[in-house]
């Protein structure tokens, strides 16, 4: 697995260590980490800081041309909110750890021109990490996906 997915998993583990939902994300730009983050629902009482949102927010205000060279790494298939944010900014490529626990609107993203890839080398680790959390905290998980 490359360094960006590795960093996304580190973010998920940092969230886990804080008692949060273990999903992590990295925004890669020109071969560097421009932003990184993890789900903050528990830690900040946030309804909008999914991992991808936290990573994009941590990158700060970028130019449109920057987003259009970026790749978003995430340990879990992005939900409608995070997918919509990628569309707003024209992020052209998303690398996903796993889509077994949850699958966002991947077909819609592809129909809008976003390239989606799964990192097979990350899949088992991302899945196990999140599944262990969900077994212990099923209602938190339901809340996070609007269920």
């Amino acid at each position: 697995m490359n360094e960006f997915m590795r960093a996304a998993i580190e973010e998920a583990r940092a969230g886990q260590a804080e008692g949060g939902i273990p999903i992590g994300s990295v925004l890669e730009l020109d071969g560097r980490i421009a932003g990184r983050g993890h789900n903050r629902r528990v830690q900040r009482g946030s309804a909008i800081l999914h991992a991808e949102m936290d990573a994009i927010e941590s990158a700060g205000r970028l130019r449109a041309a920057d987003y259009r060279r970026a790749t978003l790494y995430t340990t879990l298939s992005p939900c409608d909110m995070c997918s919509g944010t990628a569309l707003l900014y024209g992020i052209p490529r998303i690398v996903i750890g796993e889509s077994r626990t949850f699958r966002g609107p991947e077909a819609y993203l592809r129909s809008r021109g976003v390239v989606l890839e799964t990192d097979a080398s990350a899949e088992a680790e991302c899945y196990r990490l999140l599944q262990a959390f969900i077994r212990a905290n099923p209602s938190l998980w339901d809340e996070d996906i609007g269920r």
Copy 2:
């Protein structure tokens, strides 16, 4: 215009007074304002705090059943990010001030079952407020919509 769209416009004006992009939003739940907010790109250097996101965040962590009775009021047609957030939480209805300056994925929202309404009584005021800002700050506006 009803009190919720009035409050959304007040939020847009509060953003304007702070030097920010004048777009406001309110999350209505059971006839009360559960959350309200405005675009914070300038004020907080935020890439994700569009007005609708700020309103939803200010409402805090709600139950899925709450979102499903809520209406999102916004002075401007919601972008891909804010539309995706409404979809994530199953917010069934969005009342829009204007869609002339910018039109988000309204057809897609409808295809996913969201009811969209335009408040004709708010349209001219929402449009004028935002247009005046854009004339003075065209590059900020482009940035806000990922252009």
